[in-house]
Amino acid sequence: MSPEVQIKGIREGLLVSVENGDWVEAEQSLLSELGRQKDFLKGAKLILDVDEHTINAASMGRLRDQMSEQGLSLWGVLSHSPLTERSAQAMGLATRIHHAEQEPEEEIEEEPSVVSVDANALLLRKTLRSGFNLTHAGHVAVIGDVNPGAQIIAGGNVVVWGRLRGLVHAGAEGDESAVVCAMDLAPTQLRIAGHIAIPPQERGEPRPEIAFVKNGEVVAEEWNIGAQAGTV
């Protein structure tokens, strides 16, 4: 029997779940199911739940292409496999649906910083290039550069061990205590919670800096190893 494919509506769009098992078979039944329902699915935000399937970047790219040939747009991929998540993130697909949005009853009002405490941190070890788009509920750490045109939206803090030149939004769900730090902090635009800052164009020698919200404004300070240890 071919693996089962289920489609159900959720807040964010349509969730398409694929049963575990052999990915080649699962992909086939997925594509034939999507083909059958394509008139219904066209224009919807499709989120694929592949559970335990391990999918590398190349086959995920193929899948997305095949879907787009049918006029379907893949918006996100949910998976328990770290490799699959990484492939999806590398292609700029969402890998998390915000829990709070999914179950609006369970609102956590008292602790706004809870997002950055219990959500996982994500470590990326590569150069994030123009067009790369990452949305993550927790912290994001990058070992590499974030180039202009790349975008990181994080519920928690963002740390870049490299040059930060793209757009970064830390504390995206309203956490004003979130910080952004980078070896060379020169983003196109920097946002923390509801605050937006456009850094000055003229800069001196690059130096490590940390940006945070102080008195309702985003400020950046040079990272001084001795003085700031233990404050964040």
């Binding site: 590398n56 970047a57 190349a58 790219g61 292409d65 590398a90 292609m91 590569k126 150069t127 994030l128 290039r129 123009s130 067009g131 790369f132 550069d145 180039n147 202009p148 045109g149 030149r165």
Partner: protein, 271 residues
Amino acid sequence: MNMGRVITITSGKGGVGKTTATANISAALAALGKKVVCIDADIGLRNLDVVLGLENRIVYDLVDIVEGRCKLRQAMIRDKRLEELYLIPAAQTRDKSAVSPKDMKRICEELVKDFDFVVIDSPAGIERGFKNAIAPADEIIIVTNPEVSAVRDADRIIGIVEAEQKGPAKLVVNRINSELVSRGDMLAVADVLELLAVELIGIVPDDQAVLVSTNRGAPIALEAKSKTGQAFRDIAKRLIGEDVAFTSANGGGGIMGRLSKLIRSSGEKRA
């Protein structure tokens, strides 16, 4: 059996010199004695045939091959000057959807049996035509100009190429004007490399003679005295594994020390 290499030349942004680079790198490879076929993947806006001066010889094109109206051999046009250089032209009357990435893979699998190099000229953009062009590629060469918008697009393309696991892209910086660079009015090669962090395979100077040669349909790479032609010949040599130094003549003044340092460090990053 020794299989040929499929190299796709792309850029993201239009007008940076993809077609000129394709024509000249292909001609330079053929002049080195390699068997080369270039494919114009820009269906609907073909011009590689014009740049190579072969426009009036077209009978069949890429879409004719895909749709079975002719054999692969029939659509290949042999160059006037070089025995071992062939062109498969694009169709002018159709659009990108007439060819699929699968078709391109199938055609290239055939070609690599007979040729040392299959060089594909990609259309601008990141849509279907671009996907067709990179699908069969073993290697990707990114062409960019020393201007911020072209570099930004190149960066996006490199990201896509990486995600498709097409191996590390190689970079050609085209239209460097050493005078403007030394006055600080143009991005230097080092600035471009700093952002893109990929392997540099060529620096081509800004040269009006290129315009003349493309209009005449005679690749400048075949003009022995031209410095720009030399730059393309150097790229071809680097592609076949020769270690050719970047000379300051085509790099733009005093940046060469810094540049070689950068090339080395970007090499280390990949290791």
